[in-house]
Structures are given as structure tokens and as C-alpha cells.
């Protein structure tokens, strides 16, 4: 018989990790909704964010300014995203539309391998952990690493800011319009390639933010973005490709299913429960919980 305390602790743990997964999924789904391409190298931008966080804390700012390091790391990944979009992604959009998917897949997969190899070459295979000045906090009955709780709060704030910018600013309007019709916004005089650049930068910055936030919790090493990326794609399928509320709700759902499955069913299959949910969604609602069915002529 399981105690109520264990059930509540497991639920809190699931929600906490789910919100952080959602941050990653949001980057993937946002880039897709604007540019209609999947960035397979999202995990590597997560990895870059975590390394930037480590370097800033260890060499420049110190553990007391961990929060400033998170902002700088996110900004750093945003700038790297702009450069990558300009150098590697933008040329793809000068090709005929039917070849874009092929090019985008190959280019982002190449980028994934390149960034991972560079990280291994420069930093070696060892793990690193950036320090923080945060102590353990109680979230209900669950003791939680201060860094993880801060990551949860940061993620909630980031999601709220993201929503408000998208909903209430002129640039957000341009982004939403681009997601609805790339041709339509061009007729309204909007430079769609400039929108792409910012969208790509924001999307990878969300992954970089997740990497920086989770660096003290899940450690820093060349392939640390791999598992989070997998979760991100699972969430995108569950929530619906291109749906922002879907990413948040599916993230929490995935976190809860993994936590309860690991605690009360069989802990060995923690990563399998999410896939089972993905399979169920694909069978019952192929567009995801909040995705829209595409229109065909």
C-alpha cells in the first residue's frame, strides 16, 4: 500500500519536470509553426546553453550570480541561433518549397553532429556542474533542489513572457500571422525571412534556457540534450505540432505519467510510458491533443 505522502510527492515531482520538458517542446513547436521545418539539432542548443551556464558561473560570475548567467546564456544561444539561421537555414528558404524538408533535415542533422563533436573535442567527455547559492526547499511534502525549483519558476516566467509577447505585441502579431500564411504576410509587407531569423533565434534560445536552467540539476556533458530532445518531440506529438498550449499541457502530462509509472508500475520503463502515450495519441487523435487537421484541396 502506498502512502498519500508518496503519491503527492510523485505528483509534484511529475509536474515540476513536465514544465521543464515543455520549455524544450515549445522551442521545437514554435520553430515549426513559423518556418514549417523541424530543427533536429535542438538538443545541441540545449547543450550549448548548459555549457555557457557552466562557463559563466565557474569562470566569470560565480555561483551567487547564477540567475544572471542564465539570462546571458539564453541571450548567447539566441545570438548563435541568429547566426545559424543566417548561415545555414536561410539559404534553404531560397529553394523551391517542396525540397525544404529534405534540406532542413540534412542540414540540422549535420549541425547536430558537428556541435556534439565540437563539444566533445573542446570540453572532453567529463561532466561538469555549475554551482548555485540555492539550498533545498520544501514544495509541499517534497524536498526539492533549490536549482530545480528555480528552474521551474524561471520556466513558468519564460512561458508567460513568451505568451504575452506573442499575444500582445506587434512582433508577436507578425509571428502569428507568419505561422498562418507565409505568403499572406509577404503581401502585407512583412519581411518573412527576417521573421524566420528571429523565430529561429527565439526557438533555440528556449532550448538554451532549458539547458542553462537544468545544468546544475542534470549536469553538463556533450550529449546532455539528447534525452530532453526526445521528450520535446514526444510532447510535440502529444500536444499537437505547432500548438503552444498543447506543449505546456502535454509536458505536464508526460511528466506525471513518467513519474507515476516509475513509482507505482515499474521503474525500469520510465522512458517507455511516454512512448506508450505517444502511440495512444497517434491512434486516437493523430493531430495531437491541440493540433489542427491540415486542409487539403
Amino acid at each position: 500500500m502506498y502512502s498519500t505522502e508518496l503519491v503527492v510527492q510523485t505528483a509534484i515531482s511529475g509536474v515540476m519536470i513536465g514544465v521543464l520538458y515543455a520549455l524544450m517542446a515549445l522551442g521545437i513547436t514554435f520553430i515549426y509553426s513559423i518556418m514549417r521545418m523541424i530543427n533536429w539539432a535542438m538538443g545541441e542548443f540545449y547543450m550549448i546553453g548548459s555549457y555557457l551556464q557552466y562557463m559563466l558561473v565557474a569562470w566569470l560570475l560565480g555561483p551567487d550570480l547564477w540567475w544572471l548567467a542564465i539570462l546571458l546564456s539564453t541571450a548567447g544561444v539566441f545570438v548563435i541561433g541568429l547566426v545559424v539561421q543566417w548561415g545555414l537555414i536561410k539559404p534553404i528558404f531560397k529553394k523551391p518549397p517542396e525540397t525544404r524538408d529534405d534540406y532542413a533535415t540534412v542540414v540540422t542533422l549535420a549541425l547536430l553532429l558537428f556541435l556534439r563533436s565540437v563539444a566533445t573535442g573542446l570540453a572532453g567527455p567529463n561532466q561538469f556542474k555549475p554551482g548555485t547559492n540555492l539550498s533545498i526547499v520544501m514544495v509541499g511534502p517534497l524536498p526539492m533542489d533549490g536549482a530545480r525549483f528555480a528552474a521551474f519558476l524561471f520556466a513558468l516566467v519564460a512561458l508567460a513572457v513568451f505568451y504575452l509577447v506573442l499575444r500582445y505585441t506587434w512582433y508577436g502579431l507578425a509571428l502569428r500571422a507568419t505561422s498562418q500564411s507565409r505568403v499572406g504576410v509577404q503581401t502585407a509587407g512583412i519581411d518573412v525571412l527576417a521573421v524566420d531569423r528571429v523565430a529561429f533565434g527565439i526557438g533555440v534560445a528556449l532550448a538554451g534556457l532549458a539547458g542553462a536552467l537544468l545544468a546544475p540539476v542534470f549536469l553538463v556533458f556533450p550529449t546532455n540534450g539528447m534525452i530532453t530532445t526526445v521528450k520535446g518531440f514526444e510532447i510535440v506529438v502529444i500536444g499537437g505540432l505547432g500548438s503552444i498550449p498543447g506543449a505546456l499541457i502535454a509536458g505536464v502530462l508526460l511528466g506525471l505519467i513518467e513519474s507515476f509509472g516509475a513509482a507505482f508500475v515499474d521503474s525500469a520503463y520510465q522512458n517507455i510510458y511516454g512512448f506508450l502515450l505517444v502511440l495512444a495519441i497517434l491512434v486516437l487523435r493523430p493531430t495531437g491533443l491541440f493540433g489542427e487537421r491540415g486542409r487539403e484541396a
Binding site: 549535420a110 556534439r116 567527455p125 561532466q127 561538469f128 524536498p143 540539476v217 549536469l219 521503474s267
Partner: protein, 395 residues
């Protein structure tokens, strides 16, 4: 119309080059190739792999300085298993078929060693596991399979001895779902039964690719164990430690780590606040005497890396020394002659003891087993060489 196939191929080639894919250079006629298959990236224990590589590379240098064998120099071919059996098997095939190596060593992860041995028994090139402990690696009695590492029954016997000494009654095992984790946890349950230890044992298994072990650790905390056995490899070891500390399981409940990860230089950087008090398995005490070869290696290692060698590096080095002596004794690199020389020979390696690979019973077939120690850190930032020896166990 899709993208022309050649253009796609061009992209893929560029991607492979960008990824730093190794350029295949088959062994030259004047070289003797030795394969080294180790984890160099996640989910493998890349640090463990890197330490073995350091030792093997110095071993190759020292073997060549001492004249190589059969008038030829040795050359090392390194491959990354990523702890994945499929990758390890592909690496073994490439090492044998394309690089023409005469022996393959390394094998940090048991699953990889087990997978490779299934192919190796057909292809015939001998393997020497230096840090993979699953019983079946040698218990299957394959002619090609050799090992210089502590096997599951010995390691478990050491911690059962420790548990008995401490008077622990309730034991939780958090074990990864690999041949390593399952092998050690099942062996613990078996020895508890066969040795009438009367322990209450909780077994919690985890995917080694997972990063959040909080749900499993909450289960363990609810069990109220006297000791937690951390039977994971690589990043999960550290994540389990940190997350156990967060929920208050550590340091209230002692934890024993199932291998020598805490001897690595990065340990105190990762665990400045929760590394003290941890028990861990080790296979070598710095207080023990090294052989002349071991002393020379330790000196070369210190000069190159500015730190003392740990077990993985020593064993990586030892594998090269053993192959050099076996090839000299066989006067050939023919696989059958080499296997015969390994079985019949007495070899000098890093320990101050003779290394042999007899056709012995059970798991001890072709297996030289180092003594197993259980050490404990008793103060923060302690040098592992100063850690307290709690148990010293020899087969």
C-alpha cells in the same frame, strides 16, 4: 521532383566529415593492430572509456619503445561503443575486417562485451575485457574471451561481507537495466539466499538514459533501507547521488557505489557537498605495491596527465603489455596461436602479481581477478588514496 540523390549524398558525406568521423587507415604491413572499443560518449561512461584509452595509449608507446613484437610496431585503433551493444559489434567487425587488428580490448560496459563476444567467437579474434564485470563474459567459456577484471560474484561477495560487518538488514538496490545492473542485483539476491544472510532487499531498476530518478528514490526512501546500493554507471551514478541528497535519503542512509567512479578527479568537483561518507568499490589500493612495469607506467602517466593513474588506466595499460608478451610467446599474430599463448602464459602487468588466464571452472575461465576493496571517503575533498579501506576481499 525531389532533391537529386547525389546532392543528398553530398550533404551526408559533409555531415559525416563535420562529425569528425574517423578516417579509416588500415593497419600497415609493418604494424600490429590492437583494437580498443570503449565508451567515449553518452549514454556510455565516457570518462571511464577515456581513462582506459589513456592507459592503452601509454601502453602502446611503452611497448614500441621496448621493441614492439616480431620486429613490428604496435598501433592502436580506438572505437566508441557509446555503451550500445549494436555499436560495439559494428566496431568489432570493422576493427577485424578493415583495420586487421589481431586482438580487441577495452569493453567498459558488460552489455557491449557480451554482444561482441557472440560475434568474436565466429570471427576468431580474441577479446580482453578490462572493466566489464558480467559473469557471462567468461562463464560461457568461449575460446576468444579473456578478462582482467572483478566478476559479479566476487564484487557482490565483497559487499555482502561489508553488509554483514555493518549489521545492515534492509538493503535497497537502484540498478540500471543493463547486463551490468541486472547481473549485479540478481547476484546480490542469489547470494542473500544461498548465504542465508536474511536481508530484506528492495530492487528498483532504472533506465540508464533517464535523468530524473526522483520517483524511484522516493520509493526507496519509503522503504527505509539501512544501505542503498547505487548500481549504475556514468552520469546516472552522480545524478542518483545528487537527487538522493535532495530528498534527504543521503547522507542519512549510507550509499555504496558499485565501482570506482569516485576515484576519478571530477568526483569532488561534482560532489563538493555530498561526496563525504560515500562507500565505493575499488580494485586497486594505491598503498599496494606495483610491479616494475606498473611503476614505470605510473611515472609516465603522472608526467603526461599530472595526476596518478586510477584502475581503468592501469588495466588499459596492462592489456597492451599482456598482448605484447603473448604475441612474443606465440611468435605469431595468428588468432589461434595467440589464444594458446594467452592460456598457457604467465604475464607481467601493472600489479605485483602474475597474471594468468587458465581454462578454469565457471566464471573464472580465462579470468584474472584483482582483489576487490570497499573504500570510504571520511572527509570532504579527500584524496582517494587516503580513503579508508573498509573491506579487502580476494577470491
Amino acid at each position: 521532383m525531389g532533391v537529386p540523390i547525389m546532392r543528398k549524398l553530398g550533404f551526408l558525406v559533409a555531415a559525416a566529415l563535420l562529425a569528425g568521423a574517423p578516417v579509416i587507415t588500415p593497419v600497415m604491413a609493418q604494424d600490429i593492430g590492437i583494437g580498443l572499443d570503449i565508451p567515449l560518449s553518452a549514454p556510455g561512461d565516457a570518462t571511464g572509456g577515456q581513462l582506459i584509452r589513456r592507459g592503452a595509449e601509454i601502453g602502446i608507446d611503452m611497448a614500441n619503445v621496448s621493441g614492439g613484437a616480431l620486429g613490428k610496431k604496435f598501433k592502436l585503433f580506438v572505437t566508441d561503443s557509446q555503451s550500445t551493444p549494436a555499436m560495439g559489434v559494428a566496431n568489432y567487425r570493422r576493427l577485424v575486417s578493415e583495420d586487421k587488428v589481431v586482438a580487441v580490448t577495452g569493453f567498459f560496459h558488460s552489455s557491449v562485451a557480451l554482444g561482441i563476444n557472440e560475434v568474436a567467437k565466429e570471427m576468431g579474434i580474441p577479446t580482453l575485457s578490462v572493466q566489464a564485470s558480467a559473469s557471462d563474459i567468461t562463464a560461457k567459456h568461449y575460446d576468444i574471451a579473456f578478462r582482467t577484471h572483478a566478476v559479479d560474484p566476487v564484487r557482490v561477495a565483497a559487499w555482502m561481507d561489508f553488509i554483514k560487518k555493518k549489521g545492515f538488514k534492509r538493503i535497497s538496490m537502484i540498478a540500471e537495466t543493463t547486463d551490468y545492473g541486472i547481473g549485479l542485483s540478481d547476484e546480490t539476491i542469489a547470494q542473500n539466499k544461498s548465504g542465508n544472510f536474511g536481508l530484506e532487499i528492495q530492487k528498483v531498476t532504472v533506465d540508464n538514459k533517464a535523468t530524473d530518478f526522483t520517483p524511484q528514490l522516493l520509493q526507496i526512501k519509503a522503504f527505509k533501507p539501512d544501505l542503498v546500493l547505487n548500481i549504475a554507471v556514468g552520469q546516472p551514478v552522480d545524478l542518483i547521488m545528487d537527487q538522493a541528497t535532495t530528498i534527504g535519503l543521503l547522507p542519512a542512509t549510507p550509499m555504496l557505489i558499485s565501482y570506482d567512479a569516485p576515484t576519478r578527479p571530477q568526483y569532488w568537483k561534482l560532489h563538493p557537498k555530498n561526496g563525504d561518507g560515500i562507500y565505493f568499490i575499488a580494485y586497486y589500493s594505491p598503498k599496494a605495491k606495483l610491479s616494475d612495469l606498473g611503476e614505470a607506467f605510473a611515472k609516465a602517466y603522472k608526467a603526461k596527465y599530472n595526476e596518478d593513474p586510477v584502475y581503468g588506466a592501469l588495466n588499459g595499460f596492462g592489456a597492451i603489455m599482456i598482448f605484447q608478451q603473448a604475441i612474443k610467446a606465440a611468435n605469431s599474430t595468428d588468432p589461434k596461436a595467440l589464444i594458446k599463448a594467452l592460456e598457457d602464459g604467465k604475464f607481467k602487468s601493472w600489479p605485483d602479481a602474475t597474471v594468468t588466464f587458465p581454462r578454469a571452472d565457471g566464471v573464472y575461465w580465462h579470468n584474472w581477478v584483482p582483489p576487490v576493496l570497499i573504500l570510504q571517503y571520511t572527509k570532504p575533498d579527500q584524496d582517494w588514496k587516503e580513503a579508508t579501506v573498509v573491506v579487502s576481499y580476494s577470491k
